[in-house]
Subunit: 197 residues, 2 copies
């Protein structure tokens, strides 16, 4: 029904994203995948290689989720809106992907970072920058603005376990649509939003 290698990779993604490289032993991983430790070593040469392949596996799943966002016949506003919505959805839905990302940013291994930038984010980032240039007129700060958009969505979601315990929190704040909507509003108008003088 499912290839052993794929099964191991799926298990590895879940475990590594939740407990990190050092937090997961090959024994625990094998047991979670319902096989012996040596069977895992039959499919992967060592722990490091398994981790890398698991990372690729986790990121590859999401690479095409954004393709529908950048359809050529859409307005810049609509593209931006779809991107934010899509990013928020991916990050809330695929917790493992988000955690893997966070972990990689923490480790900050420059080689892996370069790989991630080139293979996963570069294309999306270029598209996002193009949309922003179109909207803002200047291409001066497109990089920084694009980064801001992504950062805003990512960190709002990743701060949820903390913000739950801060004053004024409501459960709606964690719904994808609410996040996307608020972020877009902020991007368009700044924090003064609507009702101010």
């Amino acid at each position: 029904m499912m290839g052993s290698k794929e099964n191991i990779l799926k298990t590895a993604v879940t475990l590594f994203s939740r407990q990190g490289f050092d937090g997961v032993s090959m024994r625990k991983l094998a047991k979670s995948a319902n096989m012996s430790t040596a069977a895992v070593y039959h499919h992967f040469p060592n722990k490091q290689a398994l981790y890398l392949q698991a990372m690729h596996f986790a990121f590859a799943k999401q690479q095409q989720a954004f393709d529908q966002v950048w359809q050529a016949d859409l307005e810049a506003d609509e593209k931006l809106s779809r991107f934010v919505r899509c990013l928020a959805e991916v990050l809330t839905t695929d917790v493992d992907f988000r955690r893997f990302m966070q972990r990689e940013l923490l480790d900050a291994d420059d080689g892996r970072m370069q790989l991630l930038a080139k293979q996963v984010f570069q294309e999306q980032f270029k598209q996002l920058m193009a949309v922003i240039e179109q909207k803002s007129g200047s291409q001066q700060q497109a990089h920084f603005s694009a980064l801001s958009v992504i950062s805003l969505v990512c960190d709002i979601i990743q701060m949820q376990p903390l913000s739950r315990h801060l004053p004024g929190w409501k459960k709606e704040h964690e719904q994808v649509d609410f996040i996307a909507c608020q972020v877009l509003n902020l991007l368009m108008n700044g924090i003064k939003s609507k009702g101010s003088k």
Copy 2:
């Protein structure tokens, strides 16, 4: 010249923030602090307790850095501006603090999260919310807006190792003043910033 316990804590903060709980052994830690393993156990009952005290140590250092921000006689704009500047500075200067924070968000232990919310962030967050309510008129979305401000600064800084490899990057993008300035501009005006019609 320096108490052993404090010396251990400082070493622990550095190591734990960079390599995580599982990535640091008591032997490595003791060697880094120039003492035997057993000497560490003389000051701390076990690894878990040491980690917790190190976390407190790392966060306590920064708790009062924000106090000068919320002086009562300042304009709301000025308060917000100072807060963003201060946050950006702390997160860029004290790398260990930032990494510890990121790691706690990843682990998301709810007990520790509650502690952090109450003892470290609650007061700052309230002040920030008050400023935002004042600026935007409504208190409806103050929580989310405050969260957005913090998220924006945090994640821009934490994404630096990745953004370095994305198109359009310049070295100025990582300077505290530049970040603070851009973030404020975004908060005030949205991404269309200045030159667009």
